[in-house]
Every structure is written in C-alpha cells, then in structure tokens.
C-alpha cells in the first residue's frame, strides 16, 4: 500500500479575485520509506504540494490519500489530529518555540499534541537527542543554538512522535553548505534508522543529490521524475 497517493490533484487560490492555479492535476505515488524531493523554481508549486500532503491545506480538485486516509475531506480538528498522529514537520526557519529548551521543544508534540505519559516522553526525548547528536545541548534555548543545531532539534521534534511521514519545506535554505550536508545526512540516517518516509521541497542541488526520488515541478505541473519511480503523470 502506498503511503501517499495523489490523483489529478489541483489547488487554485483566489488572489484578489484572480484565480491562481498553484498545482495543476498532479498525480503521483510515494511508497513507505522513501526519501523524496520536490524540486523546482520559486512559484512552481512545491510548497503548496507539501502543504496539501501535510494536510495543512485542502485541494480544490482531485483525490489525495495519506497514510491510508482520504485527507481531502478532513475538517479542521480532524486535520490537526491527523497531523499530530501521523506526520512530522521540519521548517525552513526551524520554528522552534523560543521559551522552551531543546529537550522541551522535542518533547512538545508528545506533551501538547499526543498527551503521552511523562516517563515515555523523557525516554523518547533522550533517544532522539542522542540520535540527532545534540544530547549535550538538551537544556539550551533556541537562541543559544547555531542554525545547524536548531535544525537538528527540529528534525528530532518531527521524529519524536514516530510519524509515518516527515515533511520538510526547504530544510537547508538557511544553512551553510557544510551544515546543510550534515542535516541532509542526518535526515537520511533517521530514515534508515526509524523507517520514516521523508518528503522535502527544495531548489538546492545539494539536497537533490541526496534524494532517492526527485519530482520536478514547473508551473504547478510535474515536469519529470528521476530516477525510475512509481510516478504517473496526469
């Protein structure tokens, strides 16, 4: 069973009365355990597509199944619950909560979203801190961390709930080359270690090189894919 299945997926925004087609009848399939990149220039529809897969937005047309759930019809609360249970997010600007320490940021989804018991939270946070290699920074606040360290915290936060799928929107855009490489390597090793599927959007060639499967978007359409994958153009 595919993890993500999109059929003729479209998204049209109404911008000041003018309809703007961000995604146009896109169809694709992503299997569990994949390490996938959506690439393309600015305005090509990468972020919109990631938002649709991340159940942050609803398609205008077409069908989208994520983790065996038809997410096109989910309401606001159901969407939030679905994201909390099945998905993890890594943002371009890290988006850590400034008043919480690294460990508390990682713990946040377990505490405020899933309501896990304290002992389980502590154990999972400890494991993730070690996995992303920042155990010694557990009690540092975001403003005391470098960009790379912040993104490691963000990756740990995305993984702490054992999601089936992690979505990363331009995860290396604010990092230098060396750090970007380390973060991508980290995500790939996390994929290998936890079996989590990673989907990220990027126009960074360094990231594309790491991806196992790349979808190229242009003007909201899938232009090409590489290497061979179960992709079906609309």
């Amino acid at each position: 069973m595919s993890l993500v299945q999109a059929e003729a997926l479209s998204k049209t925004y109404d911008t000041a009365g003018v309809p703007v087609q961000a995604v146009r009848a896109v169809s694709f399939t992503i299997e569990p355990g994949a390490f996938v990149a959506f690439v393309g220039p600015s305005g090509s529809g990468k972020t919109t597509l990631l938002n649709l897969i991340g159940v942050l937005d609803r398609p205008t047309d077409g069908r989208l199944s994520v983790v065996d759930t038809d997410v096109t019809a989910l309401g606001r609360r159901e969407s939030a619950r679905f994201r909390g249970e099945h998905l993890g997010f890594v943002f371009q600007d890290f988006n850590l909560i400034p008043v919480l320490t690294a460990a508390e940021n990682i713990e946040y989804p377990l505490l405020m979203v899933q309501g896990r018991p304290a002992a389980e939270r502590r154990e999972r946070v400890r494991r993730l801190l070690e996995a992303v290699g920042i155990a010694e920074l557990a009690h540092k606040r975001p403003d005391q961390l470098s960009g790379g360290q912040k993104q490691r915290v963000a990756v740990a936060r995305a993984l702490v709930t054992n999601p089936k799928l992690v979505l990363a929107d331009e995860p290396t855009a604010n990092l230098d080359s060396a750090t970007a490489h380390h973060v991508m390597e980290l995500m790939r090793s996390m994929k290998d270690q936890f079996g989590t599927t990673f989907i990220f959007s990027t126009h960074d060639p360094r990231v594309m090189d790491v991806a196992e499967l790349t979808f190229t978007l242009s003007d909201g359409r899938l232009a090409q894919d590489s290497p061979a994958a179960s992709v079906r153009h609309a």
Partner: protein, 415 residues
C-alpha cells in the same frame, strides 16, 4: 494542565517589562478597590454604629401610624401594656435579638424659672436603654455622680439647650406637659447630666426615667411609644426584621388591620441614603476595576498573539488542537490576573494595616475625633480577587480565540 501553565509562565517571562507593567496596573486597580471598600465600609459601619448604638437601636416597633406622625409625638398612638407585652413575647422568640428598651416619648415645655423653651423627651428604663443603645451613657458629658444613667427625679438635657439657657448639672428645672386628655401638669426635675448631641433623629432629645414620664403625663397605665431593639449583630437585621414583622403582622385590630409597624434603622434615619450611596460607589469602583483589568489584559494578550503568529502557526501545524492553543493564551491571561491580584492584595492589606497604625480621626456630625479603623472582610478580599481574575480570563478569551482560529499556513508565512 500544569505544563500549559509552565509554558504560559515562560511566555510571560519572555516579555518581562510588559508583564511587570500589566501586573502593576492590575495591582493598582486592586489597591484602589480594596482601600476604598475597606475605608468606606469602615466609615459606613462606624456611622451606622453611631446612629444605632447612640439612640435608634437596630429595629423599632410602634403602633401603626405612629412613625407617620412622629413629629407630633402623638400620645394617642402609644402601645398599651398588653400590646407592649405582645411585642416583648415576639422578641423573646427571635434569636438575633440581644436587648430591647420600651420608651415613652413626649414633648414638654422646659423652664429654668427665668426662660422657657420646648423640649422633646424620651422616658426610658435606664438599664434596658443602656443595653439597647450602649453608646448613650458615653454621650453624658457631665453628670452629678458616677452610676446609673438616670435615676427618678433627674433629667438628662441636650448640650445645646444647656449652653443656650446656661443650665448646669444639679440645677432644678421645670417640665410642663400636656397629657392625652388635654390637661396640663408640671413637675420639677434636677439636671442629672448634660448629653452630647448626636447626628440623626432623636439626637437632641432629653432623657428622663420612664416612671417620671408617666407621672408627668398622669398616665394611668404603663403605655409606651416605641420599643427599640438591639440585635447581636447588624448581619441579623434582615432575618430579625422578617421574623418580627411576621410575628406582629398576624396581630390585627378590630378593622382587620395590623396593630404594629416594624422599622429597621434604615427606615428611620436619613443616613441610610448615604450608606446606600457608599454601597453604590463600591459597585462603581468594582466596575472600574473590571474595566482596568479588561483593557490591560486584552491589550497585552492581543500584542502577544500578534507577535507570535508564526509560533502559533508552528504549533498548529504540528497538530496542536485549537482548544489547546486557546488554553495556552487563556492561561497567560489567568496567570497575569493572578499575579496582579496577589501583588495588589498584599499591598492593599499592608496599606490598610498602615492606616490602622496611623489612627486617622475624623468628625461626623457633632461627634469628632472618631478613629477610622479600616478593615476588610476576607469574603470581600476573595470576591474582589475572584472578580479581577475572572475578568482577566474573560479579557484573554478574544485574543486566545483569535490565536486558536488561525490558519496554520497563513500564520507560518506571517512576516
């Protein structure tokens, strides 16, 4: 739940100056309200005490129609001994009642053999009167001797009358009164004491023994004009009034109308309007407190929401339910309210304590050097604190709802 408060507390700490200013504003509001309630409440209670404990008593029972004609001191509307006994029987069954005093009121011509004037007199049983209006003995400025308030053959005259007619303690005076049948009788009395005037109805009346009053009026039986009642506490006023009204209301005359009328001190003294005004001002200043807390919390929480839009977008995106986001911001408002209330309450109690130490004095009517001892009931402190905290929660609801309804995508891309 505790974790929500922990995060809320850290968010407040993030903006220390703003938190401090809002806390101070709420504290000032609490200080203003508690000081006003404490000082105005104590002033009101002191004044009520002066009026009820000097002359009125807490309740009074009359024959129906007496109070409407009280300026004439109508002798034909006195209570008969049987009616007085019925009232006393009813009073014995009311647990809030501490003491009562039957009084016979009359108007008379007062003379010191060289000049004369009119005087209003109250005939009392000295012991019962002292139990019912315990501040009365303290109003005696000069007296022939230490001892009972009054002895037969003596009269207590008001200070202004004594000064005006140059009468001293021990002087002999004449009282001439007209009785119910219209016949006139005169009798000499020795001035047993000079009585300080008090503010309110009856504050400038003279006093004589009730037996002397009956003799002067040639009254064949022990009639009384009114029965003044003292309660164990002012808090028992309503239940005692209801119980007494119910007991006496059942006693009807030949026309089927009630024989008696019962009045609280409020119905007999114009000061009750002032007391009600103080109560109204209490409510008004509490409304102002609500306004202060509402505006300050709403302002600070709206700023907090607008400054943290991307943060709200992040927690919404990772799956935080809208109700939890709402809870986070309401918790911040609640904590601000609690902090401001706690600080304000501590400062207010310290200020009230300081006022008590300073022993501020003031004058009320003829009484001066009354010491203001402001106190505040624990119930009032709790109520005002709860009011401020509840207002803080209500004020944070609108910004919190706004935060909880944000679209995650728009919030994440907010600049």
């Amino acid at each position: 739940m505790l974790d929500i408060f922990r995060i809320a507390a850290r968010n407040l700490w993030r903006y220390q100056r703003r938190t401090l200013l809002t806390t101070l504003l709420i504290s000032l509001g609490i200080l203003a309200v508690l000081l006003f309630v404490g000082v105005a409440g104590s002033f009101k209670n002191l004044m009520i005490g002066q009026i009820t404990d000097s002359m009125l008593g807490h309740l009074q029972v009359h024959r129906r129609g007496y109070v409407a004609s009280i300026d004439n001191l109508p002798l034909n509307l006195n209570l008969t001994p049987q009616q007085a006994q019925q009232v006393e029987a009813a009073l014995k069954d009311i647990p809030e009642v501490e003491a009562w005093s039957p009084r016979l009121k009359l108007g008379a011509l007062f003379s010191n053999f060289t000049e004369s004037t009119n005087i209003r007199l109250v005939g009392v049983d000295p012991e019962a009167e002292a139990r019912t209006v315990p501040l009365l003995p303290g109003r005696v400025l000069e007296a022939t001797k230490q001892g009972p308030l009054l002895t037969p053959g003596h009269i207590l005259i008001p200070e202004l009358l004594a000064r005006g007619m140059k009468i001293n303690v021990g002087d002999t005076v004449v009282l001439v009164a007209t009785n119910q049948d219209g016949s006139v009788n005169g009798q000499t009395f020795v001035v047993g004491g000079i009585l300080e005037s008090a503010t309110g109805p009856g504050g400038r009346d003279g006093y004589l023994h009730i037996a002397d009053a009956r003799t002067l009026l040639r009254m064949p039986q022990a009639n009384v004009s009114e029965i003044a009642v003292r309660l164990r506490s002012l808090g028992g006023l309503r239940p005692a009034y209801s119980a007494l009204s119910a007991a006496l209301g059942a006693l009807l005359d030949a026309q089927g109308k009630p024989v008696f009328e019962v009045h609280t001190w409020e119905g007999l003294s114009p000061f009750s309007s002032l007391a009600r005004m103080i109560d109204l001002m209490n409510v008004f200043i509490q409304v102002m407190l609500i306004g202060i807390v509402l505006i300050s919390i709403m302002n600070v929480m709206m700023m907090a929401v607008f400054e943290r839009v991307r943060e709200i977008g992040t927690i919404a995106a990772i799956g935080t339910q809208p109700v939890r986001i709402l809870g986070l911001f309401v918790a911040e408002g609640l904590l601000l309210g609690l902090l401001g209330t706690a600080v304000g309450t501590v400062i207010s109690l310290a200020a009230l304590w300081g006022l008590n130490l300073a022993k501020v004095t003031f004058a009320f009517g003829m009484a001066d050097k009354l010491v203001l001892a402001p106190t505040i009931a624990a119930g009032d402190v709790l109520f005002i604190g709860a009011l401020a905290v509840a207002t803080a929660v209500v004020a944070s609801l609108q910004p919190a709802l706004h935060a909880s309804r944000m679209d995650p995508i728009q919030a994440l891309h907010h600049v």
